[in-house]
């Protein structure tokens, strides 16, 4: 148990406060599975949004498919609103290289042409390999070499952060 990591619930509260201030009423929220979808689910309820919640699994849009192949346990992507002309916020748990977000953008654009797309993340660990930034970030967190930053959710729905080894994903 690593005590130097902040409390994820506290970070969530900060993120929620930032969003309350900036979000437009007809924004579409789309969570990126799995951690981003958990966050989006909470945000959607707490913000009381009218537009139904969306979620995407980017497994079919990964750019490392030919090296790593198909992973099992793929969740279903579902966007129950019209993407065309809408302001959309993508939600993810940890922003790192930016490749996951690029996959999510590609998938989103297969559904239609949004008016704008913003990015909401709980933690930004740096290490970008693509020109991608989040508009809403709860905290910047440094991650030691060879480790991953992982968001967990317990049975009660409580969020927590931990470090894990890179190979564990």
């Amino acid at each position: 148990m690593n005590n130097s990591l902040p409390d994820a619930e506290a970070l969530y509260a900060e993120l929620l406060a930032q969003l309350r201030a900036g979000i437009k009423p007809d924004t579409g929220l789309v969570g990126i599975h799995t951690g981003g979808a958990w966050l989006a689910e909470r945000l959607h309820a707490d913000l009381g949004l009218d537009v139904p919640l969306g979620a995407v699994d980017i497994s079919f849009y990964r750019d490392d498919f030919h090296q790593s192949g198909i992973k099992p346990d793929i969740k279903r992507s579902h966007i129950p609103f019209d993407v065309a002309g809408r302001h959309i916020l993508l939600v993810d748990d940890v922003l790192y290289t930016g490749r996951t977000v690029r996959g999510a953008l590609n998938e989103l654009f297969d559904y239609g042409r949004p008016a704008s797309v913003g990015l909401v993340v709980l933690a930004d660990r740096g290490g970008r390999e693509l020109p991608i930034e989040a508009q809403y970030v709860a905290r910047r967190i440094a991650v030691p070499e060879g480790r991953m930053l992982v968001l967990d959710r317990d049975d009660a729905g409580r969020l927590s952060l931990r470090f894990d080894d890179e190979s564990a994903s």
């Binding site: 498919f65 192949g69 279903r76 998938e107």
Partner: protein, 316 residues
């Protein structure tokens, strides 16, 4: 001898036959297919996994149905698809099978989907192609129809969940059926404890019980309490010699009617690989009835083929 379907890492390089594949690989294909069912149901039906790849449908035997489902599956993966009906082109001019394959590889084919009248033709092709090319067997002679076996297994899993408690009956011309052989291999590997074949002696192959099935000639005994009934098409075009007197007599003894179906469990499902001969192997009342899941098989077929293609493409 290493299984020619697997590469050095034990990953699937070709899909030629279900026989000999480990349970983990079959389960991986079924699980992946499940996620693709989601794709076929959503608003955007395409994913970019095979973008830039060329899939050649090499059909030496005609089949619009199977070829179309492979074409749809490949296009949903954003692959380029080229269809070749070989019996109308160069092999009639004397070009050998392997020469045809070499010429097509030179046109940068990444994947061949092969249907051939001779058992073993896809194996021959797979042994011959370059290491980056994948071969999928879409049906070879009487030997195997692997994607059909997988989609049948998927259908059974979808409706019945757990293979390890099931009783499954396959009715009909098992002798000539690659569908039956593939399904038998899939279900035995996945742990189905009670697998039965039902048919007249003339339509059951020698030593079929060695494949792991119980043999029944009496349909009323063979169907008792089964969870799944798979009826095979009576293939007139594949029969040589006096195996059956008539389709009418066959229907009398081996056609699936509501009365015969009533011997199975009340929630038993009825499957058919298609195309159906109504009134020969299956009564219309059953084919159109509540227990038939035949149309689902078709939908699942696209997802299973998408799963196979993407798994192969990812194992380069």
């Amino acid at each position: 001898m290493r299984n020619p379907q697997l590469n050095e890492k034990g990953e699937l390089q070709h899909l030629l036959t279900i026989e000999g594949l480990p349970r983990a690989i079959l389960t991986h294909i079924l699980d992946t297919a499940e996620s693709f069912v989601g794709v076929t149901e959503r608003e955007v039906k395409k994913v970019p996994l095979l973008r830039g790849q060329s899939v050649f449908n090499l059909f030496f035997e005609n089949s619009t149905r199977t070829r179309t489902t492979f074409e749809i599956a490949a296009k949903r993966l954003s692959a380029d698809v080229i269809n070749l009906n070989i019996n109308t082109s160069s092999t009639n001019k004397g070009e050998t099978l392997l020469d045809t394959v070499d010429n097509l590889t030179a046109m940068h084919a990444d994947m061949f989907v092969v249907r051939h009248a001779q058992s073993g033709a896809p194996h021959m092709i797979a042994q011959h192609v370059a290491s980056h090319v994948h071969v999928i067997n879409a049906g070879d002679g009487r030997h195997a129809h692997s994607t059909q076996g997988l989609l049948d297994a998927y259908t059974i899993r979808h409706y019945k969940k757990d293979f390890t408690g099931l009783s499954v009956a396959i009715v009909g011309d098992v002798l000539h059926s690659r569908v039956a052989r593939s399904l038998i291999h899939a279900l035995t590997t996945l742990g189905t404890p009670d697998l039965r074949v039902i048919g007249p002696q003339t339509l059951l192959p020698t030593s079929v019980e060695q494949l792991g099935v119980r043999v029944f000639h009496d349909m009323s005994l063979g169907l008792r309490d089964v969870d799944v009934v798979v009826t095979l098409r009576l293939q007139n075009e594949r029969m040589r010699g006096p195996l059956l007197p008539s389709a009418q007599e066959y229907f009398k003894s081996y056609g699936l009617t509501p009365e015969k179906l009533a011997l199975a469990k009340p929630d038993a499902i009825v499957m058919h690989p298609g195309p159906m001969n109504r009134g020969v192997e299956i009564d219309s009342a059953v084919a159109d009835g509540p227990q038939a899941v035949i149309l689902s098989q078709v939908t699942f077929g696209i997802a299973v083929r998408m799963a196979v293609m993407s798994i192969l493409a990812g194992n380069s």
